[in-house]
């Protein structure tokens, strides 16, 4: 009897780990498989390269994770990237110096926050579904981006500014450093601060959250501002990497970001999600993209395979849980 129980306990332990880290396992499997197929895939250089490519939509995905955990969504992040990139670029265009660089990053995040503030207000105070609020913002932000830039790329090739996207610290690319810093900060916010608890409470049961004294409106506002600011940051990062701001930037990135969050186990019904797993989700997409490219798969097939892997990963994860 005792033996049985302990066997049971061990089994539970395994399944719990599988539940929690199943996607990490899938990531490791995917990475290993590709490493076997492709020379140098498992190199530091390549890993950093993947991280760098992931960093921008990965940061967006973190913001989106907050929104999804409250039971909402943010479809505007791709367009906000475009708007922020255009604004950031027009600040540094033709100038030099780190002051301007910091100002440009700040401005990009500020513009993103404003978009987020609007999203949040409409959602929290207007009580309209965030899907629609952010869908509207998606159209508007892209429109404004085109208006501001007159539909053209804006040069942002100042040395100081591009050094963020080009440079590295102790061999770690600048964008990766930013990603890691953002991830740590947001992870702490989500898991250890009362703000994060409130985010979960709202997603878990908004009525209960209210009863428990959570200021639902303010919390939602903060969430969408955060998501907007992170999209703005990603926009600035992309601008620094691409040496230009462009109103076409970030097209469909919101979907990649949402996919990353959901692959990482964030429940679209709200109340469930975490930053580390969101990173795992983003990495699965990043590794897959890089692997398919390096394997030289036909681009048409790449899309098909990409769709299959995304569905497959979530399916595998769901199956495992079901069995458990």
């Amino acid at each position: 009897m005792i033996k049985e129980a302990s066997a049971n306990a061990r089994k539970t332990h395994y399944t719990e780990i599988l539940n929690k880290y199943g996607m990490l396992l899938i990531l490791i499997l995917l990475f290993s498989a590709l490493s076997l197929k492709i020379d140098g895939f498992a190199s530091f250089r390549n890993i950093f390269s993947i991280l760098e490519q992931v960093s921008m939509f990965g940061i967006i995905a973190i913001g989106v994770t907050f929104a999804i955990v409250t039971g909402g969504i943010d479809l505007s992040s791709g367009a906000v990237v475009a708007l922020a990139s255009v604004v950031g670029a027009s600040i540094v265009t033709g100038t030099e110096g780190y002051g301007m660089t910091i100002f440009a990053f700040g401005a990009a995040m500020f513009v993103g926050s404003i978009c987020g503030l609007i999203n949040g207000s409409i959602t929290a105070y207007g009580r309209i579904p965030p899907f629609i609020a952010t869908l509207g913002m998606m159209t508007m932000a892209r429109g404004v981006a085109q208006l501001v830039s007159n539909g053209r790329p804006i040069d942002a090739s100042s040395d100081a500014f591009t050094s963020i996207g080009d440079g590295s610290i102790f061999g770690v690319p600048g964008l990766v450093v930013i990603y890691v810093l953002v991830a740590i900060t947001c992870h702490i916010m989500m898991s250890r601060m009362s703000f994060g608890r409130h985010v979960f409470a709202i997603g878990g049961n908004v009525n209960t959250a209210k009863i428990c004294g959570v200021n639902v409106e303010i919390t939602l506002l903060k969430v969408y501002i955060l998501a907007g600011a992170l999209a703005g940051l990603a926009g600035a990062m992309l601008t620094s990497r691409a040496y230009a701001g462009n109103p076409t930037f970030g097209n469909m990135w919101e979907l990649d970001a949402i996919a990353a969050a959901v692959i990482g186990g964030t429940s679209l019904a709200g109340g469930v999600g975490s930053v580390p797993m969101c990173i795992v989700g983003a990495l699965i997409i990043g590794v897959m993209n890089k692997g398919l490219n390096m394997l030289g798969v036909d681009p048409y097939w790449q899309q098909i395979i990409k769709g299959m892997i995304i569905i497959g990963a979530v399916l595998l994860d769901a199956q495992k849980r079901k069995k458990a």
Partner: protein, 520 residues
């Protein structure tokens, strides 16, 4: 035990077990239900009653090794539809009808009457109406379910189960949302059903109901089958002993507590359409009850007091000073706690852990350097778990996996942790077993002794009478009066509560319609 199936029995479950991750919910349980009998199933919260029933209904798959026979034939339902087709119907513990559908649509959900390829809406309306009339539950069948009160919805769920051509109906705590008058209505329905030769499994924590209704009673404890007795052959004390495994005094005896100065005073509180001119005060150490029929507006008053659905006019005074409560966080700031009536809707965060559910109202005490300490929170949750004997594998378990009664205990723990000056309890012992009930009563009195003020809304008259120092009676959103402990009897309160009881226009019309048709 013989494996021969007994032809007297409609249902036999032999050695049925069920393991959830980390929990052995059922361990080789046996249950035999005789044809046409009312069979009570009892046990403490988390004993496994609902789990056993969900297995019967195809919602859970049992562990290998057990056997189930229905009407003499092996029975292994994969989905509710199998159970329904075999002749089973269930009123689940947590009824949650499709709020977006009408009464009739809910009634015929999954078995719509068709005319060709289209649904025959008018036939469904008519038949629903007929059946509801027959069972004495008058209501308009085209009303959306979201506009139907919990109590009515509960009766409706029972009516629905009855209307299936079932040989066995499971009722999992059907009376938790009902007041006395509706309970009697339910008894009537149950008896009517039995007359048709249909067997009923009746799960309840209320001993009175069990002795009033059932022919036999089975008890499970901690997932294990304890035994089955004829109801006439057993005393209350014996039954309690079977359930909790020890002797226990069922009657709760309240000790007196010194009552101090006035703590809370409510003046002319009104929310048009819900309640009007509510005046009362509660003193330190006092337990203040609020009685009334379902729909009297009791819940609305306490919700307003807590700022969840604020009143439009009136004043609230605390410690003699006027305070403003517009939002729950205002109330929490003044150390008011509130255990709400509807667990699902306003209580639980279903997919979060027991700990998270407990600590939510006030996170500050668990913070170290502005960060929440999981360890601290877990320790506090664990001590609550022990104190209230909450049955859960760990405090990290998702609360949705706890049994109904244990969920309720977590919610009470939540507000105890706030160390409130005033604790509002709306139907606090809903779905709680007798053992735990006594513990909660003790706790309430203990809080009173510490000088806290307690406001308790309850539909269980005995609960109110045995706990409260004073009872305010409400009817139709108005305060009928406040009775002292010494003057309070069941009769007095019921009379007061009924005094204001004028049925709504719609109900009156329906009622008169029945009368003209000579049904009622």
């Amino acid at each position: 035990m013989t494996l021969m199936t007994n032809s007297d029995c409609i249902l036999e479950m032999i050695n049925v077990s069920k393991t959830f991750p980390g929990v052995k919910a059922l361990d080789k349980v046996n249950l035999s239900i005789r044809k046409g009998s009312i069979h009570a199933l009892m046990g403490e919260n988390g004993a496994g009653k609902s789990t056993l029933m969900k297995i019967l209904y195809g919602l859970y798959t049992p562990d290998a090794g057990g056997e189930i026979f229905f009407d003499g034939k092996p029975f292994n339902p994969k989905a509710p539809i199998d159970a329904i087709h075999t002749g089973l119907a269930m009123v689940p513990q947590e009824i949650s009808p499709s709020a977006n559908l009408s009464v009739a649509a809910n009634f015929y959900l999954g078995r719509e009457i068709k005319k060709g390829i289209l649904m025959d809406q008018s036939a469904m309306n008519e038949k629903t109406n007929d059946i509801l009339k027959e069972l004495g539950i008058p209501m308009s069948v085209e009303t959306l379910m979201q506009n139907v009160s919990v109590a009515k919805a509960q009766l409706l769920a029972i009516a629905t189960a009855v209307s299936y051509d079932a040989k066995l109906i499971i009722m999992d705590e059907p009376t938790t949302a009902l007041t006395e008058s509706e309970v009697h209505q339910l008894y009537r329905i149950v008896k009517k059903v039995q007359e048709r030769g249909i067997a009923i499994i009746y799960i309840s924590h209320k001993l009175g109901e069990v002795f009033e209704l059932s022919d036999e009673v089975s008890v499970i404890r901690d997932g294990e089958y304890i035994g089955t007795k004829k109801t006439t052959d057993i005393t209350k004390e014996e039954l309690i002993n079977m359930m909790v495994g020890r002797d226990m005094d069922e009657m709760f005896q309240r000790e007196d507590v010194i009552i101090g100065e006035t703590l809370l005073e409510v003046r002319n509180l009104s929310l048009p359409g819900k309640f009007h001119d509510i005046n009362f005060s509660v003193r330190k150490g006092e337990i203040f009850g609020i009685a009334g029929l379902v729909g009297a507006g009791r819940s609305e008053v306490v919700e307003a007091l807590f700022g969840y659905k604020p009143a439009e006019s009136g004043e609230i005074h605390l410690h003699g000073k006027k305070i403003e409560i517009h939002k729950p966080c205002d109330a929490i700031k003044h150390r008011i706690g509130f255990v709400t009536e509807d667990r699902k809707l306003t209580g639980l965060m279903l997919n979060m852990s027991v700990t998270d559910n407990m600590i939510m109202p006030e996170l500050l005490p668990y913070e170290k350097h502005h960060l929440i300490s999981e360890e601290l929170a877990r320790d506090v949750a664990n001590s609550m778990k022990d104190q209230l004997r909450i049955k859960t594998p760990t405090v990290e378990t998702i609360i949705g996996n706890l049994s109904g009664g244990n969920q309720q205990k977590v919610l009470i723990a939540r507000w105890l942790l706030l160390e409130p000056e005033i604790l509002i309890l709306d139907e606090p012992t809903k779905g709680i077993d007798i053992g735990a009930k006594a513990e909660i009563y003790k706790l309430i009195v203990e809080l009173a002794r510490l000088g806290k003020a307690i406001i308790i809304v309850s539909s269980e008259m005995l609960e109110l009478l045995s706990l409260s120092d004073r009872i305010m009676v409400m009817a139709e959103g108005r305060e009928v009066g406040i009775v002292d402990r010494d003057n309070a009897t069941q009769e007095v309160i019921l009379e007061m509560a009924a005094g204001g009881d004028v049925p709504s226009q719609e109900e009156q019309e329906l009622e008169s319609e029945y009368q003209t048709q000579g049904v009622a």
